[in-house]
């Protein structure tokens, strides 16, 4: 589903060039649950952003669903993102001015889903993550765990092929972290591919494969016996 060959990403400020990724090659198949680990600043989030088409590599080839995207325009990337990808962020990234239900609905509006179907799917998604009773609340009125469940609902509601989670449990207590992991596992069981950046060994162990990064390079890959 995703194939990266010699991907590099450099950030340039006026004086220094920082190499966030340096020759990363990896392949992720459909329906896989992959964890990416490594110390802070090793390029995990950069890799995830590139996989999610919200950032572009400076070098290398990236096949997304057998389509080379390295030379794609922002508009083409937007279309692919809209059609196939759902995001879960560490800091939830819900829109403060919208209600819980409206936040989840955003993902469907841009996919052109009709209003009636949107309402129904939002209700189902909120029910699925156990937060339906908070549909009319604003994000600030919710606890961190509840906000992250809303964010997961937003990622799942459009039924994406690929779900990218950047430290989804990083700001949560154990119980809420487990709940979010359960939801991601559920998405994998339903056929989605999940790539998750995490610092938690326990959560990484729930994935089928763990990729370790150090200084922008893949240093090890561990496949968990099924």
């Amino acid at each position: 589903m995703l194939k990266l060959t010699d991907i590099a990403k450099s950030y340039r400020t006026t004086e220094v060039e920082t190499r966030a990724l340096d020759g990363v090659s990896l392949e992720i198949g459909a329906g896989e649950f992959v964890a990416i680990m490594g110390p802070s600043g090793c390029g995990k989030s950069t890799l995830l952003n590139i996989l999610g088409l919200i950032d572009t590599p400076t070098e290398g080839s990236f096949l997304f669903l057998n389509e080379e995207i390295a030379s794609h325009s922002e508009d083409k990337l937007t279309k692919l993102r809209r059609a196939h990808i759902g995001f879960v962020f560490q800091s939830f990234n819900l829109i403060d001015d919208l209600t819980v239900a409206e936040n989840v609905e955003v993902a469907l509006i841009y996919r052109g889903v009709a209003a009636r179907e949107r309402k129904q799917r939002v209700a189902e998604a909120l029910d699925h993550v156990g937060i339906a009773h908070r549909a009319k609340h604003r994000p600030q009125q919710l606890s961190g765990g509840q906000q992250q469940r809303v964010a997961v609902a937003r990622a799942l509601v459009s039924r994406p092929k690929l779900i990218l989670a950047d430290e989804p449990t990083g700001n949560l207590d154990t119980a809420n972290g487990e709940a979010v992991m359960g939801l991601l596992q559920g998405a994998v069981d339903a056929g989605a591919t999940v790539v998750m950046v995490t610092h938690s060994l326990a959560h990484a162990a729930e994935a089928r494969r763990t990729i370790k990064l150090l200084d922008g390079r893949v240093v090890s890959e561990t496949l968990l016996a099924a």
Binding site: T78, N93, Y110
Partner: protein, 174 residues
Amino acid sequence: MFRNVLAATLGNLARNRLYAAISIGGLAVGMAAAILTGLYVRGATIQQGRLLDLLCAVAVMLAGLGLFGLASFTVERRTKEIGVRKAMGASKADVTRLLLWSFSRPVLWANLIAWPLTWQALQVWLEGFSRHIDLQPWMFLVSAAAALLIALATVLAHTLRVAAAKPVRALRYE
């Protein structure tokens, strides 16, 4: 102490040149408006019609500068939201529409509030002339359209810049 304050002020001005220019420009226009009003009150020699034109231009400029400042502030405040929306699949056109509509709304509300007040004030003013024109609805619609056009032209630069940015830039901003 005064020297420190002056140094800090100059430092800030140098760092935020655009905002400094807007603020100083706004202040200058505001002072000009105050002087013109003073002249008007003292019954200065400028012809009344010409003075009104000037005051109108000053008012439009003031409003434009205010809106420009509001646009900078709003875009800044909504940076993360725009990043999130783009990650969710919002296109450049979606973001542009969203921002332009959010800037148009206050202008439309302002017009709705201004219409009855202006209608009343102009009626009173026109009654002071023995021969005068009648107020027509199109005058209000045209002025509203002009206000909207000026407002959109003012915020367009900000909007396009943000709409075209890569989503990751907005998301990294926290």
